[in-house]
Symmetry: C2
Subunit: 118 residues, 2 copies
DNA sequence: CTGAATCCAGATGGATACTG
DNA sequence: CAGTATCCATCTGGATTCAG
């Protein structure tokens, strides 16, 4: 114990657990896309997100939004319109994902070219 | 057509599709952790990754490594030992994920504290 | 408009045992 | 050591219908 290699490996395991923690929150077919949609508009309504994220169903959108809310990444506000509308907004904590979203956007663009253009 | 708002929305949809492209590759319970494991050691053997990523089974590790290989993120090299050993390494393309991995590691650490400490 | 409820096929993933 | 094969429970997610 106390040897350098062991210490390094422990550090490494901690890092891997940390990445896992992130992915536990962000995994899900649509989560990142949903966050991305809300992110760049500031506030976004249910039906707008439904339109932004191609392919998502209202069932899944509802479900994943709820999980994001539980993880304190988005807030949900019911507006007193008739019929009601609901606005979703990133929390301060959710906003800290912006860098990651931005990186993923860039990487995805490059990756698509990489795979398609071979 | 050609109006600013529509253009912006089209741009936005493209960005969302790009994030989705990234997530299509990176989704999966263990993928990021696996990449993370290989990443910081340079090369990494099957059994080492199995040990690094707590909870993963050999079945899943094998499966997800194969998918990562298909997406050209890792290479697989069989070493002529007895019994054989296999080394996995990030490709140049896979290495471009380092920034994202690093960000996810940091974010995961913060997020854990955030959720646990409320 | 924003969901919730139900139904159901197919994917996911763990446990275990086996192979070269 | 590095997988593969099989079995099987659970989860995922789409389609559709209904509700406040």
């Amino acid at each position: 114990m106390g040897c350098k290699i062991e210490e390094f490996q422990q550090e490494q395991k901690k890092r891997i657990r940390a990445v896992q923690d992130s992915m536990d929150v962000l995994n899900g077919k649509w989560k990142i896309a949903i966050i991305s949609s809300i992110c760049c508009y500031g506030k976004r309504r249910f039906s707008d997100i439904l339109n932004d994220v191609e392919g998502v169903s209202n069932r899944m959108l509802s479900k994943e939004l709820k999980e994001l809310e539980i993880n304190q990444l988005v807030t949900r506000t019911v507006l007193p319109t008739q019929p009601i509308t609901v606005e979703y907004e990133l929390t301060e904590h959710g906003n800290t994902l912006q860098t990651i979203i931005s990186n993923l956007t860039d990487w995805g663009t490059v990756h698509r070219k990489k795979i398609a253009g071979k």
